[in-house]
């Protein structure tokens, strides 16, 4: 329902038969809306375009004053410097293994759990998920750090996969409960009448229907794990660091090398940005699942 359109101008035709005032009002509203949207999108667009501009400009242009917005002699040197001069290949692999592994385990545990919670209406479980979201990451990190040290898991990818479950599992459960809640009950009831066990009903009926929800849940779990910085900073060793740590290290050693810094930032976050714009509709659904209802 359109809030602004529902009021005001549509009353006008009663007073005047000419279509012009109405059209003019519509045009003015369109203009205001256009300006508003432009103002809203501008800050995001500016920062990401500036990141791109920094990465594509040679050093001279990056340190020029006044700043040069559109690269005059664009170059890929900064990207080359990061690709050749840093262990980005290994870190990308680490990030993929950690995000992929933790997302997979989160799905195996979280999709059935989401189904069970939705079906048995165990809302208390969702409070659990909320508390997991409230807890500062550092409060897990201290005990984990001590425990992983004790069992020799520090500096391993296994430790990172396990800890990233803290990010992925709540997301998967949250999205899946919302999704299974919205599914029609008739199908599973029919399955139950036909003598299917809850497990069979889940496997043959709910799971195929739940595929869109699973896609959203895995995307979000993967992205949040990919983006995570703090766990890897503390728990990863030289060989097991993830991409955000690489970006951070580039920063501390080359504070003023704008080009390579921006190139590193782009290499890490570009996949996420592309996915975001491509599947924004699904992300919107996933991120707001539960927030509106509960």
């Amino acid at each position: 329902m359109d809030v602004m359109q529902a009021v005001g101008p549509s009353v006008a035709p009663l007073r005047s038969l000419s279509p012009w005032p109405r059209l003019r009002a519509q045009a003015r509203r369109g203009l205001i809306l256009g300006v508003a949207v432009f103002i809203l999108v501008m800050p995001a667009l500016f920062v990401f375009l500036w990141m791109l501009s920094l990465a594509l400009k040679p050093d001279v242009e990056n340190t020029a004053y006044p700043p040069i917005f559109i690269p005059r002699s664009p170059t890929l040197d900064s990207f080359r410097q990061i690709l050749d001069g840093s262990p980005i290949g290994r870190y990308t692999m680490n990030s993929a293994v950690v995000a992929g592994g933790s997302t997979l385990i989160a799905l195996i545990l979280g999709v059935p759990a989401g189904y069970g919670i939705a079906k048995s209406q165990q809302r208390g479980m969702l409070g659990f998920v909320l508390i997991a979201r409230m807890t500062p990451a550092l409060s897990y990190l201290i005990p984990w750090f001590i425990m992983f040290r004790a069992i020799g898991l520090n500096n391993t990818l296994t430790a990172l996969v396990i800890t990233h479950l803290v990010i992925g599992l709540p997301v998967v459960i949250w999205v899946m409960v919302g999704f299974f809640d919205g599914l029609p009950r008739d199908l599973e009831e029919a399955a139950a009448v036909d003598g299917a066990s809850p497990w069979q009903a889940f496997w043959h009926v709910a799971l195929p229907l739940g595929r869109p929800g699973i896609v959203v849940a895995s995307l979000l779990a993967f992205i949040f794990s990919w983006n995570n910085f703090i766990f890897a900073v503390v728990l990863a060793g030289r060989e097991t660091r993830t991409l955000p740590v690489l970006v951070f290290n580039t920063l501390t050693f080359e504070r003023l090398a704008f080009g390579p810094l921006a190139a590193a930032a782009i290499l890490v976050t570009l996949p996420v940005l592309i996915v975001t714009v491509l599947v924004q509709r699904q992300i919107v659904v996933g991120m707001t699942a539960g927030a509106v209802k509960s």
């Binding site: 359109d2 999108v41 069970g116 459960i173 976050t269 975001t276 509106v292």
Partner: protein, 284 residues
């Protein structure tokens, strides 16, 4: 009905207990000890809590966290609500533009923090150039103790306004139609409709956004750590940064654990307070 689904839920519960609940218990246990990473650990009761509150740096960090949170809850909630009313309209390319609008919250925080760090640079940064070009004096941004917290909160606002927008947008989509029809018949102005109908109706959803934002603002780490690491001096040392230094630079595990417990109690108390507020708005 309840027990039929227990085997669906049990594995997730077991893992949650192992990776979340057990660490909490362990944290409380550690907070009662003089616990160094290496060497002896002795039971000292509540001494860690007492010394935490005696530590000026800890108290200062609490105030800074509060100030940072006030900025980074208020601004995103106001701007996000405004943005939601805009994106609630139909317009061409809405999907794409909404996708661009939510990019800041999906992008890797360390990567965007890095770009902001470069934009904040007093001489070479683009922000001071933009200020100058509209006739405003330059700022030291994150390089001055006086402006560092607002500057960081600005980045946090940039990053998290989209989440508030999405939540409020979801709320707007569920609003009933009838009040708007009555308002139209009564000849209400658009702003009247917004203030007297839309705002009260979406208030519960806005409060959800307030709660989430409060939790996330108190927990903020990546942005602050990447851009300033708590500096200049300790001017942006929030609780989370202080905690990180305590645990992983000074390795005072027992004291850090006590701070974690205090921090967590504060977050839960604030969240419950906000949720209670939300229950009350339902009746009005």
């Amino acid at each position: 009905m309840g027990t039929r689904y227990i085997w669906f839920i049990a594995p997730a519960v077991i893992v949650t207990v192992a990776i979340i609940i057990f660490p909490w218990m362990f944290t409380i246990y550690m907070s009662l000890h003089d616990w160094q990473v290496t060497g002896a650990r002795t039971f000292i009761g509540l001494d860690n809590y007492v010394s935490a509150f005696a530590d000026r740096r800890f108290i200062a960090a609490i105030w800074r966290t509060g100030l940072y949170a006030v900025f980074s809850v208020t601004l995103p909630v106001i701007l996000g609500t405004a943005a939601a009313t805009v994106f609630h309209h139909e317009f061409p390319l809405r999907g794409l533009l909404r996708g661009i609008f939510i990019m800041p919250m999906m992008a890797t925080p360390v990567a965007v923090a890095l770009v902001w760090a470069m934009m904040f640079h007093p001489q070479l940064g683009v922000l001071n150039y933009l200020l100058k070009s509209v006739g405003l004096p330059p700022s030291l941004w994150v390089y001055s103790p006086n402006t560092v917290l607002p500057a960081l909160a600005m980045v946090e606002t940039w990053q998290w306004t989209p989440l508030v927008m999405l939540i409020v947008l979801g709320g707007l989509a569920t609003l009933p139609v009838e009040p708007y029809e009555s308002a139209r018949i009564d000849g209400a102005q658009p702003w009247q409709t917004f203030v007297y109908i839309t705002l009260p109706l979406v208030m519960p959803v806005i409060l959800v956004a307030v709660v989430l934002r409060t939790i996330d603002a108190l927990k903020a780490f990546d942005l602050i750590f990447t851009i300033t690491q708590g500096g200049p001096g300790t001017a942006s040392e929030t609780l989370n940064i202080y905690l990180y230094l305590k645990a992983f630079s000074f390795y005072q595990i027992g004291q850090a654990s006590a701070i974690v417990v205090i921090f967590f109690v504060m977050i839960v108390a604030l969240s419950l307070g906000a949720l209670a507020l939300r229950e009350r708005t339902r009746w009005t």
